[in-house]
Amino acid sequence: MTTTFVDVDVRPTLRAGGEPFGEIMAAVNTLPPGHGMRLLATFKPVPLFSVLGSKGFMHEEREIGGGDWEVLFSPREAVSEATAPSVSAADDTDWPAPAREMDNRDLDPPEPMVRILAATEQMQPGEVLSALLCREPMFLLPELAKRGHSWRGGFDEDGSTYRIRILIGGAAESQQ
């Protein structure tokens, strides 16, 4: 199946010293189903790869000269509902504000995972837990899936902090 791409050129914003993240996310949130995004930027936007990856997009990037980059974000066709329930969820606005926030960036692994799972056990279905980490929590995600929670996560723009938000019981709700 060929994907139709919507062009988003953030080079003028970047050259004017502006911050294009909101512009990009707004474009992503208004993409019709099955459509992809062709992003043009003045640098390789590595942090976006994880952010949009968590929203179900694959990426393919290439340098197009003059230091500019073209990145094609296309929707992943077969995302497993069982292992990645969050990906099927809609945009960010449908989740409540976090009921609990944690900063786990300076903890030795696997302490961040231990604390997050302990917190999820104390919280009520429908509440959201927000946590900051220094790495993508690779071993935490399957455990969240097993416990029926949804999550959304990605690196901040500087690539040093991973922000995860967990909707307690979210996967169970979305299947009802």
Binding site: S54, T83, D106, D108, V114, E121, E136, M138, F139
Partner: protein, 450 residues
């Protein structure tokens, strides 16, 4: 973004690998192979391949099936293929070792060597397919995964060169090119195996594991990229350039020298990255595995210095055995044992307690291991290794056997510590098996999927 689950067969790889290491050290302790036999005698080749394939390659494959997915944040292509892979590799290794025994005068069919080579190529091809498909799906790759990719390409070169040798020694082919490759290509096989497959892959994985366990930023700058390209160029020059030289009836020495200089650049850049990583760590008091990895890295540096001295004095040919021994045992085995000590504890903890975290009182990862007890065995291991290296220089067969025996005792004790970790033997009884958990299987990781 679905995360990473536990690799089912990784513990089996580790167990077979440790068994092979102890087998090789037992043979060395009994005086089998160099220096009692010639450095290229079948007995020596048997011990070398028991270490290179049985211990180091199985250890590396088992670790990669678990950690390549962590490096690239994607699941392994197939979680069932590693078992078939292991069967092929172990079967191939057994036949290969039988083939070496046959070369040393034991009775048996001569074709056992090429059949062993064929099974090993099949096993490594399965591993390369599984890891290659996993990596391919994750492009563009982060820096550690790029190192691993170069390492995997070197594994392919090592296995194919080795297979060529078995065709010749097994008497299946005597084409002039094959004879030339067998006579001249041994250094390429050794460099591709020890330098490309094992060292380069270990460098890549160490970037991520050391950064992760010491809370340090992962090196990803121009120096790291230069290390990657310099190392990849070194291996290409040595393996491809060397083979072209052999095919055109030139000596491959120029390729080894040019590649050696590029490799020196790669190791220096890697060393600079790792020093910065240790200095920039947020975790001031580091665990035993990171301390012992430091000792292994020191042995890598010592190996590079030693190689420079031997090349400079024109004595590399005479002292190649202690140099290879230092690389295989001081650097690669030292790092492997150090990381095993952490990895086995972490995977066991995750397998056993992951499902009940937050629901019951669970031990911490460090509660599974008793570092103080293990530390003395690690120090004995490194001391015995250094002693054996020195005695190999002197070609003093008796003291080398003594050194190997001491290494065997240390490795046996570390393996016993790993067994205790796997059996949760040092976890306080009050929180050893809370409700909802069960004692892990020794050789297979079992985690119910979502």
């Amino acid at each position: 973004m679905s995360g990473v689950t536990l690799s089912r067969w990784t513990m089996s790889y580790f167990a077979v690998a440790l068994f092979c290491l102890m087998g090789a050290l037992t043979l060395m302790g009994l005086g089998f192979g160099f220096p009692a036999a010639d450095v290229s005698a079948p007995q020596t080749l048997l011990v070398v391949h028991l270490v290179g394939i049985g211990w180091l390659s199985l250890l590396m494959c088992g670790a990669l099936f678990q950690f390549v997915p962590v490096l690239i944040a994607r699941p392994l292509h197939s979680d069932s293929l590693p078992l078939t892979t292991l069967v092929c590799l172990v079967g191939g290794l057994v036949l290969l070792l039988c083939g070496f025994l046959h070369l040393s005068g034991w009775p048996g069919p001569p074709a056992v060597l090429p059949f062993g080579g064929m099974l090993l190529v099949a096993g490594f091809a399965l591993a390369l397919y599984n890891l290659g498909r996993t990596l391919w799906a994750a492009r563009p790759l982060a820096m550690p995964a790029r190192f691993v990719t170069v390492g995997l390409a070197s594994l392919a070169a090592t296995a194919l060169l080795g297979f060529c040798f078995t065709l010749f020694f097994g008497g299946l082919s005597s084409s002039p090119l094959l004879v030339r490759i067998t006579v001249r290509g041994l250094p390429l096989h050794v460099v591709a195996g020890l330098g490309g497959w094992l060292t380069f892959t270990a460098m890549g994985v160490s970037y991520r594991l050391l950064a992760m366990f010491m809370l340090a930023p992962e090196p990803d700058g121009p120096g790291t990229r230069a290390a990657l390209w310099s190392g990849a160029a070194a291996l290409t020059v040595i393996v491809v350039g060397g083979l072209v030289a052999i095919a055109l009836r030139y000596e491959p020495e120029w390729a080894l020298i040019a590649g050696g200089l590029l490799a020196l650049g790669a190791v220096v850049l890697y060393g600079r990255d790792i020093l910065r990583l240790y200095r920039a760590r947020k975790r001031r008091v580091i665990e035993l595995n990171s301390r012992m990895a430091g000792v292994a890295l020191f042995h890598l540096a010592a190996g590079v210095m030693l190689a420079l001295v031997l090349v400079g004095t024109g004595t590399l040919g005479r002292h190649v055995a202690p140099l290879v021994f230092l690389a295989a045992f001081g650097w690669l085995t030292g790092l492997g044992l150090a990381k095993l000590y952490k990895i086995v504890a972490f995977l066991t903890w995750l397998e056993c307690y992951g499902p009940v975290l937050g629901k019951a009182d669970t031990p911490r990862v460090q509660d599974l291991a008793v570092e103080g007890r293990a530390a003395r065995w690690f120090w004995l291991y490194f001391a015995a290794t250094d002693f054996a290296v020195l005695m190999l220089f002197a070609e003093a067969a008796g003291p080398v056997r003594l050194g190997a025996a001491a290494m065997l005792i240390a490795v046996g004790a570390i393996a016993y510590e790993l067994l205790r970790i796997r059996r949760l033997a040092d976890v306080p009884l009050t929180c050893r098996l809370p409700q909802g958990t069960s004692r892990p299987h020794l050789l297979v990781l079992l985690v119910p999927q979502a």
